[in-house]
Symmetry: D3
Subunit: 334 residues, 6 copies
């Protein structure tokens, strides 16, 4: 999934180049063209590394987020990504996790930046500071506005089973979900623990209390836990995800295709079938009328995003980009 264009466009403001690319949130395959810059090399060569940096890391994060959301389906996925990465990156990480499909982000400042309410649950620190789960649960309930869901963290001192029952006893009807952040050393069969918590809550009438899990999750685990879990908090797997290995190469000089060994020469276009999304790269000056596989019309997906000194990209909110991504995910498989 392509992302990072917004920051990149800010960088090139004022440069005498033309920039064409996919839109943010578009899906692409290995070896396909996603972005081209035309102009005098001396005018933009010095920015090459920075441009690459914007899209490689942003696309890596958005892709990981999309994979997690794809795995979770209707269940909630919250980005817990800010931890463990340099704080300067937090807004970038949270924005791209959100447009990639996450339902919410945990960092307050980042949430504001993308125009969303921050999501989250109570912290271990609250429980440790109060040294008493009941006090912590009640303090959280008292302090938080009614709009915030009551998600009780139940694994600080107690085993998950008894912790969940205790939270249900203390908060009763107000309890929205229990969060299981089970430490790795206690995570022998996490699915079994969840099933046990589910059983114990259910037989006591707490069928509506959700199970929110976190801790070292990735898409494979999400698929395994979907059977029981209702919401996921995903951290490092999204924020520290491998960057996408884009490279930026000279492919054409004064209209003549030329590229180094290992690269295909010529300015390119990427066509996508309106029917099933099949993609096909061509030279930029070719015009593909119909899909070679199904005959349906194809659209050119690399469009001018910046030219004549100004950005041509209409302003889209993160929420708008994300909505289009979610529409696309429906037809994809992991």
């Amino acid at each position: 999934m392509f992302a990072g264009l917004e920051e990149l466009l800010e960088l090139v403001q004022g440069l005498p180049v033309t920039l064409r690319s996919l839109e943010e949130g578009a899906i692409f395959g290995a070896g396909e063209p996603v972005l081209s810059v035309s102009g005098r090399y001396l005018d933009f060569g010095v920015f090459e590394t920075a441009m690459l940096g914007f899209i490689c890391q942003a696309s890596g994060i958005a892709t990981s987020a999309a994979r997690c959301k794809l795995a979770a389906g209707d269940r909630t996925v919250i980005s817990f990504g800010a931890r463990r990465m340099h704080p300067a990156l937090a807004p970038m990480i949270e924005r791209n996790a959100f447009i990639g499909g996450c339902d919410g982000v945990a960092v307050v400042e980042s949430a504001e930046l993308i125009g969303e309410e921050p999501s989250g649950t109570m912290a271990h620190a609250l429980i440790l500071c109060t040294q008493d789960e009941r006090v912590a649960f009640e303090a959280f309930d008292e302090a938080m506005p009614a709009s915030v869901e009551r998600v009780a963290l139940v694994d600080t001192f107690q085993d998950e089973k008894f912790g969940a029952l205790y939270a249900a006893e203390v908060l009763g009807e107000k309890l929205s979900a229990v969060r299981l952040d089970t430490p790795g050393s206690r995570r022998g069969d996490f699915l079994k623990i969840m099933q046990e918590v589910r059983w114990e809550l259910d037989i006591r009438g707490f069928e509506k209390v959700g199970i929110f899990i976190s801790g070292n999750l990735d898409e494979e685990q999400i698929l395994r836990y979907n059977h029981v879990a209702d919401a996921y908090g995903v951290g490092t797997h999204i924020s520290n995800s491998p960057v996408v290995n884009f490279s930026m190469d000279i492919v054409e000089i004064d209209g003549t295709p030329l590229a180094k060994r290992g690269k295909e020469s010529g300015l390119k276009q990427l066509w996508a079938c309106r029917n099933d999304g099949t993609r096909m790269p061509t030279l930029a000056d070719r015009d593909i009328q119909s899909c070679p596989q199904c005959g349906e019309m194809m659209d050119a997906t690399l469009c001018d995003r910046y030219a004549d000194g100004r950005s041509l990209e209409p302003t889209r909110t993160p929420r708008e980009i994300r909505q289009k991504v979610l529409d696309r995910l429906v037809s994809l498989e992991l």
Copy 2:
């Protein structure tokens, strides 16, 4: 390897806390304590995520750099890390790659920041723009100050063997090294290609021309290529390295040990044997006189770095930290 303290200390400036930690560049093992913060939780709790971010990512980068340097031994390792990561991180990445053991960094600005000369070689773009390797080699030779080594990039248009011979023919005695950045599709047996280049250069009298390789390198490949290569340019493997999974937990309240499930309670000290570096964690108030294994004296490695509102860490240059790291690497194995 522990890193990121410098930025963290800037963050806590002015906070009424005491911070103890390892020094930057220190080696630690899984589960060992590296940093503690003492104070009122309300005074620093809000910075917890940021603190963690500084050290997790910096330590991950420094550790990867150290592993590459350890693998390379006396051969040169240059950090090409800036590509593909968000440009805001470039100085942080290059600094920690350098203190982790890299011999140089490629980004000009970052190099200035850490007080070193930038390292690097000519770019593919230069050769493509000139469309003629001879012109490019000669232009580079002409433009660069004498202090910069002439490293010719020889794989743009030609096969490595003929490219290397051509560079030797054009630059003669001035040629310091040839850089092989062979694309993956042509990298069937990279070591064999290097050996072939080495043979062809040698039989024509260019025994002194070095072989500088780059492209998707990591420590395992470095070990394999050491037999022939003289220098390495390492990129994403260092800059996008997995973060170190530190976590920050409350372990003591008002002097009483208390920690959540899965964490060992109590404020801790980490002792290191003067003889062989054996490490041993204890409660902070214990005093270990001698190593339980060899009887030699042990040193406390977690020291006060910030207290009473000011930093206690003496200012060390990146070069000084790196030198101490190199001294430590001598006795380690991958």
Copy 3:
């Protein structure tokens, strides 16, 4: 390890045969002879299946017990074997687990049979019935004679870490060990849990409280846990161990060697070197003076155990057999 001879000798009482075999507790290798019966086939053929049954299952159990004890070294190994096997076998299982090296057996009746005190710890049922760990701990302490060690089962309701601290608080100096029978779903990294319990006990001054673990243990796990654990309760792995695949074949008829395909013919002897235990099978009428490898004297290990209608085996208590086994284990490796 050879076992089951005692019961077998009871079976043949009165039969006109001669029986030679290893002594109980002797070590043998694949394909080596362990027992021979001489006589008219019609006199004992009908007992063939029963004879085989006695030694195959007993030897399987004794061997598993010996492997566990070998793995545990000086640490305690208790046989919890009676569970899950048909109760009629309990005395046989416990006897052979004991002579194989176990330090104690859990079943009262079996313990009496072999002349030992039963070993054990409190049960989950006690804690569940009282619904309160404190009550259970105190009741156990009150009811048990002073000679029984106070081993508190700490994982019924609580996480192991807090359960262990609670037991130490309730029983104080009297607490001998805490037993961790952690359920599989919570057993993510059992060694890590033990280390955590060890740390928390130690920093509060309970260095002498042992860690007794149980639940699906085998010799490989014992080796892994030896670093922290002090005692093991081993159940199904010993009691349901694979039987030793002995077979009983006719190998000689009226003094002439004859055996079916796949079997070596002739009545045999098994010689063992006094020096290093090297074993060598020969025909029964050969006399081996010295070890072909080291020259030391060799002993014939297949001796007459029953002849002329009566047993020739001196009565050895299980404790005596076990002591000799322990002496042998010293020089063996897993």
Copy 4:
């Protein structure tokens, strides 16, 4: 497959408890409830280990037997299980092997106990004692009543191919099957040996002579050999099969659900769909009207087997239990 109830009911005779369970021969899945005991703990706690022993080992044996029979389909499976297990267990082993689906059992006494004719073939000992296969074949033919099938053991001295032809020559039309108990060292490609025997018998007109194989068989091998074999003798794989890891836990006290960590609390019922056998556990006091998947009616499968001091289980012969098991196997897959 659940088994061992008969013996368990004898044990509880006279105890003031209520016992509910599956019927013998019922299929269950991992984690599903199979048996509950209600009453005062002091009245039955002492029998807990024995109860568990009855059903764990019996269910393990019945399950292995069922898997073998399922693999063999219409082909005959005889339990050779008595060898290598303690002789006290023989009747229990053979009974449960039989109710699990075996077509016959080899031990005379056990066969009588379950009211069946013993099955079997001639022994290696007979051939060795006579030292002449012809004599052995003819002696067996002469001594045995006409109702016993003539199964000739053909691998004692000769290769299977020539042995089978020899038996056919000696016994002619009377020969029912040849038994191949090929030793492991000669079992390079057992299927190939059988095919060769089949071919040689067939081209000489002995198409009706069956092939009966034995020796270290399990269900995977049975599947492989089904192509040629007509009958199987299965020994240790059934008699020494792993026990089923049932555990017995307190799950409710005075009507209030309570269970230790890792166990689901509350007295339970197991429902099975009349349509496809889908099973669903619930609390015992729930009433499930219809299958959540297909809407068909569901039956409660845990029924009172003992209450008010007497057994409520109608007496079923092993043959009746087995017949119902065979009916169930039809719809199962390995």
Copy 5:
């Protein structure tokens, strides 16, 4: 695939035996009869080893060729087999590679022997001798008759991408294909190299220039490269292919079946269903009317090829045999 009969028939000329076999090019399975010799053993026993040699190696080569052709489908497969095998075998290798399905053979003499035009491309030696690709391309174009396709070898000095473009520039419309014999050390992702060459040729209007690849190819690689490649040169994989492990055994003496252990006795026939080719071996004197699976008629495939001192096999040219093989391949899968 059965081959080598032609040479074998020459060997037996004049011998008083009857020889029956499959026809050359027939498909058979493991363990099926392919050839029988009837007569006095003294008359032909001395030739047994030679007979076996003819058909084992020829069938091995034909089978490998057929597998490659099956993998390549409509694409061209040329046997480059003569290299690395003893030159005395060249005609035998090329003949059997051809009847197995190869479209051409590279050795001149062998081609004449089987009545086909030799196939091939220019050699590395030509380019090295001229030291200039242009000279070599033009010389080849000038010297070769118009009927020979212009296949330019483009990897001698240049990278494949630039070499292919250079050949297209020099030979223009006359260029039929470029041959990529990429050395293993440069073969990182051979498919990627081909795709790049394909792209660069296409965007410059050379869509009709084919891609001919060679070098260590086998059927698995052919399947992988089919996506882009148009023709294959296969060498050692066909010429040094493993021999078929036929063995020749006495199976009948004076009409009575007798064979050593491991072999099925009796003179045999192999029947093949006209419908789907299902094969079934029987004794030679049986008559199978219809396929046991589908009821369709079956044909006897072992026919008299030599009897009464003369060959009964009608003379078929290699081309005729090959055509029938190609017809058979249509319905097979790898």
Copy 6:
């Protein structure tokens, strides 16, 4: 191991070229030069394929033979190689198997060619024709000259154990060895079968009768069987061994090094250390005085073998070449 030179020299007789190479039987490593031809390309280019064929296949066979002999140590290795390869190759195969280290060859004609007595044992055909092992053993004993060892083939009709005892009974003191050619379907644990035969022979006083095994042997199996076997017959593994992948390339034109991509240019010499055999390739005109590792003198191993129109290679008999090979094998490991 280098072989095939003798035939190659016959081919070049009369050509105006100079040929330098290793001597037959020399050891070389991957990528090392073994042979060079100097002259006008037009004078020898047409023979390139044939030259390569001679040495590639011969070296492959000699290498496999040497590996088998190296594995067998003092035990006998006979080449049974003629079967399954085209009969035209038999002399070439047997010669190179012999110089590679085999102790004998089975084909009469080939044996004469290399000046050795043919080795071998009786055939299955003899036993089948006589239909009686006793007759066959006695006939063989009667017909063969006293110089031929009596090796009885004992697995035709009987199991190996009884067959071996029968041969010993029939031939008594004259029996030299029993040959076990056990069919694959009966080869479950071949070593176990041998041990059983060994045991049965020994206990009856036939300790001097050797065990000769054959059938699908390779060096790994030889290593496994060395414990018991005395002699090996190796067939297809030597005769159908993979060819050595030599290639022949132009590396120098008129004294100037030039080679295609992937090949090292320049005429070469291969130096070998007198001390430990360390090899080092250099340009042909360099002179290496001493080993770079140990300082010992080094010898040039590529010597002129043909020049000025005549062979310079002194005539060495296969026996002489083989003796030198055996001397070399002493210091090698598999």
